[in-house]
Each structure stands twice: as structure tokens, then as C-alpha cells.
Assembly symmetry: C2
Homo-oligomer: 466 residues x 2
């Protein structure tokens, strides 16, 4: 790390645009779950795209590594510095424009997801990305990690919600396309490179996002199914019958039990005690219509034998209760003990076989294994977590699970799946990525080399360029 | 062009995999509209991905330029060879797999759009891409040009319909990801590079595409509006009121008049003679529901003063008649005389101002100007064509329109638009692209240089690499 560059950076920037104060740096050099502790000599806090450009071009000239950071809510160690300067987008949080006729919103990279959702709501529109960290996750990071969440089934991943980007290349050049076009076939779609690149190709400074009409009605139900295979059949039925499935989340009995026991005042939504349940959300542009649709689609599902029991939320409060059960699983699981977590995806049709094989494999490799597999079955994305029946496991257990993780990833490969469905590669999975996708990684490295020849952008992340 | 390479290619390939027969080459060396006449020494017709890989690696070693070609239905000269060898995908037309539970279909690049639509229909699903050339356009070309069409508003451009690709790099390496995942955050999304690249980065050999539930009901109406501004207001109303607008096409009085006069048996759908009409298509997963939705949404539009007259198709035959009017405009326009055509987009909110300014500009620059502006207003994409009131214009007129085109493109820039919304760059717009997006083109060229260092892939197209 060149002290000369740091001194030059501080001299070139507004005093508000940097800090060396350890107290201010502290939250920027560790991840929120406390799994990664890092260090950085300097926190940069530009307030304009021009400042970002100046910073990158200075760092590029002297080979100073930069870690771009927005909400720092990631799970895979991609935003914890180990000596890099931290470039925080937190001061660039303006909502620059909302164009209701064009169904688009333009904001800076540091805008918090919840405030973008709110700004869309204020003009009667919906920005549909929705996930646990929405109160602190920022748009730049959500784009850089191609965030998912619970509404991917209807609205797509973050990639599908981006109409345009403003991004600064490592050499300081600015690419800007914020006009919000839905159709533009003038050459390669360069924004796609930055989406999901985890900050390794440049810094996203602003984005134009897609807005949608707000549904006039929403219905939420929890239904009992026999197995993941039946959940997939039910999903197909609900999609065909309603055309408006906004979320379809699978929960195992153990997941629901843990959540009910952990959450104050929570109770089981069904009198039966099924092996699996699904949470289904439908939306409609018509008032009261979602409820009617849900009732009739569940009725025909009963007739087809796809569902054995179901509860339909009757009030908004009850909808929130149902969702709280689903959203409470990770926290309840954490309270039970540490687990080896696997954010994987397979084709929806392969989900049942994968779940069965992965469960059998984990149980054969580990005594006392407790499989807590839940999540976005509608997208083929399951959080396949391996815990212990005995409560109170610690990091030792997770470390001992390495062979289980390996076996699970092999099964993911066998079923044509992904070892990182929505959380990204970060530093956690970079070795696995290199091992499992060598041909693709070779091309990624060539692109990285082209756009970031001095390897200043997040060099330890994803591709591990050294 | 190295004769040695051609001889080596012929020797290395199955005799069915190449041809020098002028009769067989003829349709491959000119475009279907007869605007581009080219030449090629050799037509390659591989039947497997391995053959494509062998061809590219041999051409790459000796610097032989390759023009990949699928249905050859493009409008911008991107698929007409000028000395390159033609690599036709026409023998690679298999539908490899349909996975109804995963809502996905895997086919080879030479599969014709209509047969993909049909295969989806056979399993009760929908592949929504829909455009005039669907009887001959092939999937590889539709992906390479990121095709649009009339249902982009609901289902997106081709880019949004691709789950995975198999593509051969210029050096023969094969990248393959055909498992149909909806979520995969393992590194850069490399398939995005090939989508819309117009064959300049490699050859797409197969794709996994998204399928959808088939709507159980469809409604089509033609409604009178005062102006493009009112059309945009009506679009907003219909989106909010129905949530299921599948198409929203603007037609000027002159466009409808030309179509009615040109098409045998056609008649005006409205008794009034409005300055502008829109064709609206709604879909619903429920039987008969689309019709009801259309009626109530048009009723409230009347009450709001957004529509002055409307006709709702009562039968499937009438829906087809309404669509025939819209689809008949290009042909009717052609029969009237040649026109300077502009496939442009602007943000939906800017459409009214753009239309007004571009019309005034064209009329001020040309005596006898007849503006025929129609198309996908829901996507901000208009085909802004400039003809003459006097019938029978020829190529001279189009050539004389160069200053008009320039002025129109300047207005597109002013409104943050694109000079190629859905047709692509090809050879027709490569100079304009270089002139209007220099920063982006520099990055595109760097990527091209990385993946295709010997510039063998469609070198004259889009970036004009020589």
C-alpha cells in the first residue's frame, strides 16, 4: 500500500470525502454477522460520480486496491477489506428522478432499498425487490451482487430490474446510461458486465430501475404438501391456475417448528402437522381478486390431491404472521445452533431428487444431522442447511461439515445447479468457483484483465486476482 | 482469404457440412429484402457443436473471417457476407428438451421460432417471442440480435427469455450452460455478452429458453386517442387497471388508412376517423376474464376522457383482423413507396415530445413529407418512417432523406433514446454507433479484442473491425 497515494488522495479530495478515524472505519471493516474481521488504511466517502472517478484513476495509476462498499450486508465476505482502501457509496444516496409514465426510478448507488421502495410507493408504484436486509442494503451492492429475495418468481432478480447504469471504470472513465430505455440494441449491453460482478470491474454510482403497478390485492396462504415433489406439482398448478404467483416458499416441518418455538407469540398455521408446507403469495391488479383466485386455485388443488390442508390469511396482520414464520427460520435456526449453509439452485424439476439425495448424503456422512432445507422453490433455489439435532453447535461443527458441503456441491453439479444461487461468490466460494467452472473462470479473468488491467477493483473477491 | 484454409476446412468436415454450389449459396449471400448483395467462397453447415468448434478454431488459426447466419431475416445487413465464409446453423435445428416443471425449453440455434412456439404449445406452455418473421427467423439469430416484437411489454426482449446458452468462442472453446437455472450468482453472467452481440464474439449453438403459462383468455381492442400523449396516458391507465397488458401498439390515421386500402377485405374498425388509434391486447390466466377486464378498463378510460371511441374484438377472427391491420402497415407503406425508416426508442414519457418534434423537423426539411410513425409505444419504441405524400418514391428519395435521418437521430439523442431499438446495428448503423457512443464503443472494442483477438467473427458488423 503506497502511503504516497493515500496522502495524494486525501489532498485531492474534499475533507468530508475521507476518514481515518478508527471509530468511523470500524463498521466498514467487519461484516455484520461478525464472521469476517478486516482492516483498511482509509475510508473514502465520495459524494459525486466525479469524485469516484478521480479516486479510481489515482488508485489505478499507483496500483492501490479498492474495495467498493454499499450497505455491507453481504454473507460471503465480499465487502470486508483486508488492507484495501474502502470506497463507501453511503453519501451518494439521492433519488435523482422518478418517471411514473416510464415506470422508472433513478437513484444513486448508496440509496437504501427501503427508501427506494418507499419512493416508488409515494407515486403509486412498486419496486418489487424485497429481502431481509432491505433496511440497510443499498442499491449499488444489490446490483453488484444481483440480489434475489422472495419475489424473484414474479419480478426477476435485480438484473431484470435494472434499466440502466452509471459506472466508473478502474481508469476513471464514466459509462452512463440512465435514460430508462426498455429497448436499446446499439451494441453490447455493457451494464450486464457490472451487474453481479461484485465490484470487480468498476464502481456502480447510479442506476435506473424498473417500477411496476402496485397490486390492488394480495393473498397469502400456507398449504400442507407431502414432499418437495408435491410442492413442485402444486407450484405448476398455481402458476397455471392463477398466472400471478408472487412468492412460493417451501418450509420443512423442522423449520416451521423452530420458527414457532423461537418467535414470541407465534403459532402453527395448520392443525395438521405436515412434513412440508409452502407459503404462497398471489397478487392481482383488481381489488379483492387475489383472495378469490387463491381460494379457487387451492380448491382445485385439493381436488387434484396436491394439497392436504391449507390456511388462507384473512387479514393483513395474518399475512404478516405467515410471512414472519418463513422469515423467522434463519434466526430460529441460528438460535438452535450453527449450521453449514448452502445457498444452491437446481432446475425446479430436479429439486425433489436433489433434496432427497442431498438429505440422504448428509445423514450418511454425519451422525445427529438435522437438515433444514427451505426457501424459494419457485426459483429452484433452496437454502440447504445442515445442523445438528442436539442444540448448541458452534464453529467446530461447521468446520467438520466440509466433506458434507463438498458432497452437496457435487450433487448440485450432478443436477446442473449452482453453488451460489443468490448470495454470490465473495471470498467464501472463490476456490469452489475456480474448481467447478474453470472454462468460465478463464473467460471471466480475461474480461477482468481487459477492464481492470492493474487489478485494483476488489482483487480478492470472486476471481482472487493476485 | 486463404484457399489453403478453405481446402483444409472441406477436408476436415463431413461432406454434408459444406457447399460451394452457387445455387445453394445464393439465398445465403443476399438479404431477404434485396437491399444487400454479397458474396462468399464457402457455405459451412455444421450439424454439431463440435463441428462449429473445429471450424472456428481452424478459421481462427489462419485469420479467416466467419459470418454466422441463422434465418437471415435481419434488416440491417448484419447477415450478408462480403467475402467471409458463411456458417449457417440451419442443420442444427433440434429441440433438445422441454422441461415443463422448470418452464424451460432447450433447442439448437437453427430451430425456427415458429417451431419453438409450437413445441411449447404442445406441452401447454407459451414461448412469447412473436414477430413478423417468425416462420423463418431462427433462435440463434434472434438471440444474437436480442429480438423484440409485439409482446415485449409483458414478457421482455429475447434477452429476458434466455436462461442459458451454449456458445463457441472464436478459438473453439465451448461455453455451455443449458441447465435452465433461474438463479445463478457464480461470477459474471457470460451469456449476456453473446446476447445482442450480432455474432461478433462467437457462435451461439444452443439455448435454454423460458416458457410461460398459456393465457386462458385474450382480448384485443382498437381505441381512438387524440394524440401520442393521450396514448401514453391510456397505457398507464390500462397497466394500472388490468396488470395484464400484453401489447400496446400505436397507429396513426395514415397508417391505418394505408393498411385498410392495401389489405384485401380490410375495413376500418371504428366509425369515427381518429387521428390516432391504439391496438391493446390483454391476457388472463382465467377463462373469459380478459374480455371482462378490457371492457371495464376501457369504460373507466372513457370516463376519464382518455378514449373517445373503441371497438372490442368479439371473436378470434376479429382479433386476427385487428392485428392484421397493425401488422399490415409496413407492407402497405412499402406499396405506397419507399420510406426512410427509423427504428428508435425513447423513454415512454418522452414519446409525445419526440414524436411532435421529429414530425415538425421532417416536415420542415422535406416538401411533401408523409410521416408514418407506428409501433410499440408501450416499450417507448416507434418505427418513425418518413415517406412522401405522392406515391411511388424510390431509392432516390431515401438517399435524399439523409439529413432528415440525421436530424431525427439528434432528437433521439436529445430525449435520451436509442437509434436502434430492436433491429440492431449491423452494417447499416455502425458509423452512427461509433459517432454517437464513442465511450461505450471503446469498451466494446476492448471486449471484442479480448474474446476475438484475430477479429474473425463478423468483423464488418457493429464495430467494423478491420
Amino acid at each position: 500500500m503506497s502511503t504516497k497515494t493515500l496522502t495524494a488522495l486525501k489532498a485531492a479530495l474534499d475533507p468530508k470525502a475521507w476518514s481515518e478515524d478508527p471509530d468511523e472505519l470500524a463498521p466498514h471493516v467487519r461484516d455484520w454477522r461478525g464472521r469476517y474481521q478486516g482492516a483498511s488504511p482509509l475510508l473514502l466517502k465520495p459524494s459525486t460520480t466525479q469524485e469516484v472517478s478521480r479516486i479510481l484513476s489515482m488508485c489505478n495509476e499507483t496500483g492501490v486496491a479498492v474495495l467498493p462498499q454499499s450497505g455491507n450486508t453481504g454473507l460471503v465476505g465480499g465487502s470486508t477489506p483486508q488492507g484495501e482502501v474502502v470506497l463507501s457509496l453511503k453519501r451518494m444516496n439521492a433519488i435523482r428522478a422518478i418517471d411514473a409514465d416510464n415506470d422508472s426510478l433513478t437513484c444513486e448507488a448508496g440509496a437504501i432499498l427501503e427508501s427506494v421502495q418507499g419512493a416508488a410507493k409515494d407515486v403509486g408504484k412498486l419496486f418489487p425487490l424485497s429481502l431481509g436486509a432491505q433496511g440497510s442494503a443499498m442499491i449499488g451492492g444489490l446490483i453488484s451482487t444481483n440480489a434475489g429475495g422472495v419475489h424473484v418468481l414474479r419480478y426477476g432478480m435485480m438484473r431484470e430490474l435494472v434499466l440502466g447504469l452509471e459506472a466508473v471504470l478502474p481508469d476513471g472513465r464514466v459509462l452512463s446510461d440512465l435514460s430508462g430505455l426498455r429497448k436499446d440494441n446499439t451494441g453490447y449491453d455493457l451494464k450486464q458486465l457490472f451487474i453481479g460482478a461484485e465490484g470487480t470491474l468498476g464502481v456502480i454510482t447510479a442506476a435506473t430501475l424498473k417500477l411496476f403497478a402496485r397490486p390492488a390485492s394480495t393473498a397469502v396462504a400456507i398449504a400442507a404438501v407431502e414432499s418437495p415433489a408435491q410442492a413442485v406439482d402444486l407450484l405448476g398448478h398455481m402458476k397455471d391456475a392463477t398466472g400471478s404467483v408472487a412468492a412460493f416458499e417451501l418450509m420443512p416441518k423442522i423449520g416451521l417448528d423452530l420458527a414457532v418455538n423461537h418467535l414470541p407469540g407465534a403459532r402453527h398455521p395448520l392443525d395438521s402437522d405436515p412434513a412440508w408446507t409452502v407459503l404462497i403469495e398471489l397478487v392481482s391488479p383488481e381489488i379483492d381478486r387475489a383472495q378469490t383466485l387463491m381460494e379457487s386455485a387451492l380448491e382445485s388443488a385439493f381436488e387434484k390431491g396436491l394439497v392436504s390442508d391449507a390456511a388462507l390469511a384473512q387479514t393483513e396482520a395474518q399475512m404478516a404472521e405467515f410471512w414472519a414464520l418463513r422469515e423467522g427460520i434463519p434466526e430460529a435456526e441460528k438460535a438452535h445452533g450453527k449450521a453449514a449453509k448452502h445457498d444452491v439452485s437446481v432446475p425446479v424439476s430436479r429439486m425433489p431428487a436433489f433434496m432427497e439425495e442431498a438429505t440422504a448424503k448428509a445423514e450418511s456422512l454425519l451422525d445427529d444431522a438435522l437438515i433444514i432445507a427451505f426457501g424459494h422453490v419457485g426459483d429452484g433455489n433452496v437454502h440447504f442447511n445442515v445442523a445438528r439435532k442436539t442444540p448448541g453447535s458452534g464453529d467446530d461443527f461447521v468446520a467438520a461439515c466440509a466433506p458434507v458441503t463438498d458432497a452437496i456441491y457435487d450433487l448440485v453439479d450432478k443436477h446442473g445447479g449452482s453453488i451460489s444461487a443468490e448470495h454470490g461468490v465473495g471470498v467464501l466460494k472463490r476456490a469452489e468457483l475456480a474448481r467447478r467452472k474453470p472454462a468460465e473462470v478463464a473467460v471471466m479473468r480475461a474480461i477482468k484483465q481487459t477492464l481492470d488491467p492493474n487489478a485494483i477493483m476488489n482483487p480478492r473477491v470472486m476471481l482472487d486476482i493476485d
